[in-house]
């Protein structure tokens, strides 16, 4: 079988080895050009000053990082993003799992329900942001009407006040991504052999027990996959913030990526934006390492 060295496999002879490299080349070149190169270049550029007019960029060492360390907005942004990720990741995963279990179960109107859950995934975040803006409008927005009707609350400026703005943004993010994650859980649930549940039923296991001991362990790999995506979304999903609050009020909803956008493309301080990008990449690398370790332990555990 393994007749040839080199790239081998389906690519037996010398000529096909060349073919294999040619097939790989376009994807790899573009991947390097727009992912690996910029990730490394941003580190390099973060040690230079922003060129202004006739003055070219010059090497300034770690000064950009010193500026960030002294910038209270940067620390606030970091804190906000942490809260944003810690809030949206578990909630969206939990809701997605509940949705999948319901849609997969024997509830009435499953098809319509699945549609309702999935719709936010398809809607453009920008379009959706405008609608949520209306929902959050003080006094005559839908949410204030509901809270007045149910609890008799007065008008609340959901996205205009520091206490509630970030929570309001998190709500939109969870609403947006839960239905997408549900699809993955649904696919996993439908792949579980019915025999397992029947066996559990024969043994007289309760529904909750069956879920905890049969269903949940089998969903482990899916949960990991979803968790990786949810974590990335915790740093990437910012479109609605740019449209709804511009990071305000008083940077209460500014996240790393919105701050990068502001610094890089509104104040055109590209060097500082590069340093901010490095911070973002560093966080993502740490998370990747953590997930890798977690995954390693999981496989041991099995």
């Amino acid at each position: 079988m393994a007749r040839a060295a080199g790239i081998g496999g389906s690519f037996g002879r010398e000529r096909t080895t060349l073919h294999a490299w040619l097939m790989l080349a376009p994807a790899m070149i573009l991947l390097v050009a727009f992912t690996h190169y910029p990730a490394l270049a941003t580190i390099w550029h973060s040690f230079f000053s922003t060129p202004k007019g006739a003055r070219p960029a010059r090497f300034i060492g770690a000064e950009n990082y010193a500026v960030l360390a002294d910038d209270p907005v940067f620390w606030l942004v970091l804190k906000n993003n942490l809260i944003y990720a810690l809030g949206t990741v578990p909630l969206s995963i939990g809701i997605a799992l509940a949705m999948a279990l319901w849609v997969n179960g024997r509830i009435r109107g499953k098809a319509a329900m699945r549609m309702a859950y999935f719709v936010p995934t398809v809607l453009p975040m920008i379009a959706v942001a405008n609608l949520w803006l209306f929902f959050y409008t003080p006094d005559y927005g839908l949410i204030d009407r509901m809270t007045r009707l149910l609890f008799g609350w007065g008008p609340t400026n959901w996205i205009g006040s520091q206490e509630t703005a970030l929570g309001a943004m998190m709500m939109v993010a969870i609403w947006k991504e839960a239905g997408f994650f549900m699809i993955f859980y649904l696919a996993a649930l439908q792949a579980i052999p019915p025999v397992l549940h029947e066996a559990a039923a024969v043994e007289g296991a309760s529904r909750f027990y069956t879920f905890r001991r049969v269903t949940l362990p089998l969903l482990g790999p899916t949960t990991l996959f979803i968790a990786v995506n949810a974590v990335i979304n915790g740093f990437r999903l910012v479109d609605h913030i740019i449209v709804m609050t511009h990071g305000g009020p008083d940077n209460a909803t500014a996240l790393l990526l919105t701050y990068i956008y502001d610094v890089g493309f509104r104040y055109w301080d590209t060097a500082l934006a590069s340093a901010l990008t490095v911070v973002l990449l560093l966080i993502l690398c740490l998370l990747a390492a953590a997930q890798f370790l977690l995954m390693g332990r999981r496989t041991h555990y099995r």
Partner: protein
């Protein structure tokens, strides 16, 4: 579930029913919340502005909001841009990812592990986060404010390569050997054996990718600055933030216009979509 009356039956069933009833209620409540923005958009878009925040069943219906939205901004041009962008990105992704995934699935070279790890890096560090450097690159290439530049960073998709590789690896070696005996070369094998067997993966990935790029916002916002290149999302944001004041009826109409093609295609493909994900083995 036959109803055999036993002495302990009714009590137990009663408990189950209450639990089931509560669960159904929760599931529906969630469904209503999740559908609310779209339902509201439909309401506001089809009624005169005055009814945007007044919900009366007798409110008159109108299509004027759609007409107004269509004329208030260059939406036809935005539509064209988005369609061009999505076609370019998805088409190029299919070709490039197929080629790369085929090599990754079938080659036994010792370099493949390292190269594949490089591909997986993109699952974590996406072009969305590298806007500053990618803008610099596009400026150097003279591509700022082109549709090509909006799509290019996404063409070599780590997710796509990963997904197709997983699918290709499940293709039995015997099929390939049989094709080889029939006299097929590497290209013919890829085209006649691998690609047809991966159809569900292409559907799932294609729909995900179309949705992603139809809705993508931040990078297009950064890299475009004229009507001739702006996709729908950026156009809508510009439209909603300028002059209009806030006319919820017209914004809702514009929102529906923007989302409609995608919404319809997902309604059509809903079942296949879920099944594709199952068969693609993303679990």
């Amino acid at each position: 579930m036959s109803a055999i009356p036993t002495s302990s039956g009714p009590v137990r069933r009663g408990g189950l029913d209450l639990g089931h009833w509560l669960e159904t209620a929760a599931a529906w409540l969630l469904a209503i919340i999740w559908a609310a923005p779209l339902l509201y958009a439909v309401w506001a878009a089809f009624h005169p502005t005055g009814y945007a925040a007044r919900f009366e069943l007798t409110a008159p219906l109108t299509l004027n909001n759609f007409v107004a939205a269509w004329h208030a901004a260059p939406f036809p041009r935005y539509f064209l841009n988005t369609v061009l962008l999505v076609t370019f990105v998805t088409g190029a992704q299919f070709v490039l990812c197929t080629l790369a995934a085929f090599v990754f699935a079938r080659s036994r070279s010792r370099w493949m592990g390292l190269l594949f790890a490089l591909v997986l890096v993109q699952l974590m560090i996406m072009p969305d986060m590298l806007i500053v450097e990618n803008y610099r690159t596009m400026r150097a290439l003279g591509l700022v404010d082109t549709i090509f530049a909006i799509g290019l960073p996404y063409v070599a998709s780590g997710f796509g390569i990963f997904l197709l590789r997983q699918t290709f690896m499940q293709v039995p070696k015997e099929l390939e050997d049989a094709a080889r005996v029939e006299g097929c070369g590497t290209w013919a094998i890829l085209w006649k054996v691998y690609v047809p067997l991966a159809r569900p993966t292409y559907l799932a990935y294609g729909l995900t990718s179309v949705a992603y790029h139809w809705n993508n916002f931040l990078w297009p916002l950064v890299i475009t600055n004229t009507v001739n290149t702006r996709p729908l999302t950026v156009g809508l944001a510009v439209f909603a933030s300028t002059d209009q004041g806030i006319d919820w009826a017209i914004i809702s109409a514009a929102t529906l216009l923007t989302a409609a093609p995608l919404l319809l295609s997902f309604l059509l493909f809903q079942r296949q979509f879920v099944q594709s994900f199952m068969r693609a083995g993303i679990r």
